[in-house]
Symmetry: D2
Subunit: 355 residues, 4 copies
């Protein structure tokens, strides 16, 4: 075994029991099944879902069964492979598709595994990535070029949400509104600019994030708390509105603003999750304008990954959205920073930052 630990023990951030908070623990390095691989985690980034679990919101209480190592955005080196593994080998530098799909249902058999109803998620349904080592099915590994920067590799799972959303519609030469400038929204700005959007308008309620949005290339940012989004963007578009809405916030207000601004014949791709049903005017927002709406979940497996590879090789650098880095041990500080809203993407390093 190429593992650098003879002890068979490792550090991990776990939800030890139901309720708010997380803790640093020492646990066993995972034992591999025949089709699994062991990854020495180089870096792991924090997702909004991790924050929900940290806070133990109702969704977490329903879905999480402690004790559990959380975290699902990750890259690292393969240090051991199970008996039956043929597609990955020791030494490969991999990123991880966090959705473990069944491979047998109608969706998996027709190239639509991203909507497989039997999906299990790493860090939610089984132990995750905020640890020194991570075991996953070999099928969930995406082999990177050895020289890919760790901070690009770690982001791919999350970057894939941005690419999946932006590629679901036609952005070429179009005016695009992105509502919500969390890390996925920010990366979507990068993608939209890279694939030929005419103009990108971005909204959020946090000035820190709007500032990042400008840095990513947004042509105009609007603070939904202090400005009249509809008014400002209507003016910026000479009264026309936008051709495309990419909804990344889940905020009912943003959804209404987005559909209000959407031109007849427009397209909307929705990724952001709301906290429940919202009042929605199908007549005005969808039917009279002949709008098309696309629900977006996860990444197309593996189409989105190939698209990411192409974008990254063409020069797009998603790691621009990273604003903070912490050793794994300082996870509390990391979560607090994230909760403050004063951040882009935050990366945890279980064994120090190596580049």
């Amino acid at each position: 075994m190429a593992k650098d630990s003879t002890s068979g023990r490792m550090k991990a951030v776990i939800k030890a029991s139901p309720g708010p908070g997380l803790e640093l623990a020492t646990v066993d390095v995972p034992i591999l099944g025949p089709g699994e691989i062991l990854i020495r985690v180089a870096a792991a980034s924090i997702c909004g879902t991790d924050l929900h679990i940290y806070r133990w919101d109702p969704w977490s209480a329903e879905h999480i069964r402690p004790p559990l190592i959380i975290g699902h955005e990750v890259c690292g080196e393969v240090v051991e492979v199970g008996r039956d593994v043929t597609t990955v080998k020791e030494g490969d530098f991999v990123s991880v598709e966090s959705h473990i799909i069944c491979g047998k249902c109608v969706y998996c058999r027709t190239g639509r595994g991203h909507i497989c109803p039997n999906t299990k998620i790493i860090g939610i349904d089984r132990n995750g990535a905020f640890a020194e080592y991570l075991a996953i099915p070999a099928e969930n590994a995406w082999i990177n070029p050895p020289d890919m920067p760790v901070e690009v590799a770690v982001l791919q799972e999350n970057f894939g949400n941005a690419v999946h959303t932006a590629f679901a519609v036609d952005l070429r030469a179009k005016k695009v509104l992105i509502t919500g400038c969390g890390p996925v929204g920010l990366m979507t700005i990068l993608v939209a600019k890279a694939i030929g959007a005419r103009a990108v308008y971005a909204t959020d309620v946090v000035p820190y994030r709007l500032h990042l949005a400008l840095k990513m290339g947004a042509d105009l940012v609007v603070n939904a708390d202090s400005q009249d989004v509809v008014e400002v963007i209507r003016e910026a578009t000479e009264g026309e509105g936008v051709d495309v809405l990419l909804e990344m916030s889940g905020a009912p207000k943003a959804i209404v603003q987005g559909f209000t601004l959407l031109k007849a014949g427009g397209e909307a791709a929705l990724l952001g999750l709301s906290s429940g049903p919202i009042p929605f005017d199908m007549n005005e927002f969808v039917i009279f304008k002949g709008i098309h709406i696309y629900g977006i979940i996860g990444r197309r497996i593996w189409e989105t990954w190939y698209q990411m590879r192409g974008l990254i090789r063409s020069g797009l650098d998603p790691s621009q959205v990273i604003t903070h880095r912490f050793p794994l041990e300082e996870f509390e500080k990391a979560f607090e920073t994230m909760a403050s809203g004063q951040s882009g993407k935050i990366v945890l390093y279980p064994r120090g930052r190596t580049e």
Copy 2:
């Protein structure tokens, strides 16, 4: 002039003044503009919108400026053409596209005139078809083969809604739910069966209409008042649900049932108008399942008309949905019948039924 009236006067059903009701009046035969044509009305059918105007609901009070001849589903013979008309000639047997589009906006210039924001509608924004004669812009005439049955020709405007909706999605070999069995819903059943749907499930609250739905070829009909729609259709689909939702009712309950039954990866085309915003669960209904939604308005001009022509020539007969016929003078009885819900499509004949 080939008109058979030397008097220059004609019968018409008009909204004489704001408020409920309609009346039969004698009015001037329309004078043609240089680009217009005069149609001797062979038949005109009643749309749900006409019933709204009859009842003078809030929408009507806002949009209708009496006095107005209403009615917009119509066919007849061209008896006079304006000075500049080159595309239609006296004697042509025409149906009418009721949407007068501007031809100059970005939508009209890119083959999407059905969402032209400058649309004027015959029988709503200008005098309509419940009369002996009707004047329309020549561009709005669709020339039929001379031997097309009047009861097919008169239905095309409305049939176009069904075709536009059904053709917006892929129904081939799919399980399809049609919510709402008014005339458009009924014609959509015909279309879905003709273009290869695996099974068509139809819902409504009126037994009379459900009976018609079966006659049109629905594989299963469900009474949304007395049966548990979700339960019944889940069972009929072995727990799977449906691949496609075609929403024709606008009823919030039907919309929820439809999206509940829609399988992951499914498509929904929405034509039915609700009375206002509805509570809608974007997470469960759209995002988690990766659903695509298409808002449908009017007919694609003229793509839908060519598609109708093809369907009709392949043997589909939309006139099967006609259940009642009245002379124009008996319009009151026609509207009462329609209001009762105990009808499919109702046709008015201003000069007697000629076939």
Copy 3:
């Protein structure tokens, strides 16, 4: 083991050595690998490729390594499953996808296994179906309802070519030309009519097949040997030509006729293989008319199979194209019949016809 043979030996039609002809032999029943299943063959049908192998044409000489059991269109009962098989069980009534794909290349990983460059074909690259028993990877089994007629089940591999081709374009309300009325062409007529084609025109050079084409529902058949195809179909379409070309013959003359008749904006799906490069006028046939062309190979795995299931359940019966049935032992007579051109589909029964 549920096999009904204690001897471990079986009848099979084999290509014993390079050169024309086939022979009936007694060979060992296949031994299963851990991921394989053993099928007791209920019926197997003859493909054009089998005839090429029988005749030992240049393609066969290059691709076939005798001794080999040929045949790849097949259905039967699963009588044994390998150690690792979880998706199929003894007693299942299965049809067979003849293309064994690698599951690891970019195409397989993005829902496009039908163009996997590592494809191995049953009956070509490994032993096939003209035998009492057939071993295949479990992944290649498609489980049928137990009550599906054998003559429907056996045709699905081949029917899938028809469905893949017809579903690659939009046939709804369109005028469709099908060039080539072999079994796939004939089944494509069935599909085109089932999914709403306005009219289907079919060409071939064999009157027997044109007669079958009419029986399948073609609106007009044209003998390319004795009639002027372009002239006849132009007249039938009032000078317009056709909206869609489905090319099933590979005959250069048919390809030229098809593209000549194709209207501007038309779509062509090509399945028939030519014997080599052909002279082709890109300007007139593709560019000036803005034509779209789709190359079709195999079946989309498994999308096409789900589509077939839907079509069959909606009432389409592909077994109408079967014209001849023989016991396996009379394979010589079967191949002669097929070579004569006086046949539709021909089915071989290794253990007698059971229904």
Copy 4:
């Protein structure tokens, strides 16, 4: 009249009689029809078609009826409008769609005017743009922002070919081969890079043009005369080949190279015209690989123009392909330069270069 000429006469480059060559003449300023506008030409660029007419090749001999003012890529100020014109006014700065379409056929009525069979082309079927003034139907004017550079405005007709081709396929994150680096090929490189191609490979036989291709952003250029195109690009793509072929040359050799390099599942958009039928291997190039081919002609009217507007406003500058500028009087020098192959786009100025 706002024309600056009281004489009613103007300079023009005309094909005076059948045969090679062109000449500078003084002719009458065009008289407007009621739906026409008069443009004071600011600049006009030379198309490959103009060179064919200059040389009087067989196509020209068949299509051109002298005397004729040629030229169809043009921009300028509107100085007079016909009686019935409502969409354009004096002073507007316009570019010109060179295809005059009928507006009445099935293609024009369904948003596909670019394949209207009744198309008349400015500078081919009626007097064109190499002159001080040009009369066109008002419908063919595209109104530019007043501050658009003349050298962007003049190129739009030709740029539209590039945009139409590049937008016909999905280039996002893809490896793209562009065969032919004339002005349209060069502008297509610009577009492909702007809309997210992963890599652009370009071929030509003229080093001058390959040098321009690099300047436009091509990642790799290959000289098809002196290098093995297939070998070089296979190596550059690690043996894979390309995802997309954009064929701009019409050269049979380039077409074969392009389809050889195209990956399974790839897309090819063809714009370049060959001199006649070419030998084409449908099996290897289209069917076995499941390739999609799109024939491209002209510009989508007006969809392509709106897309151009978006691209230009997002920062793309097509005028980078201009390498030479001449006063109209020096048209001979301009055509000689173009014939030499040592040029990108060449622009003629009938009244001096004003910026």
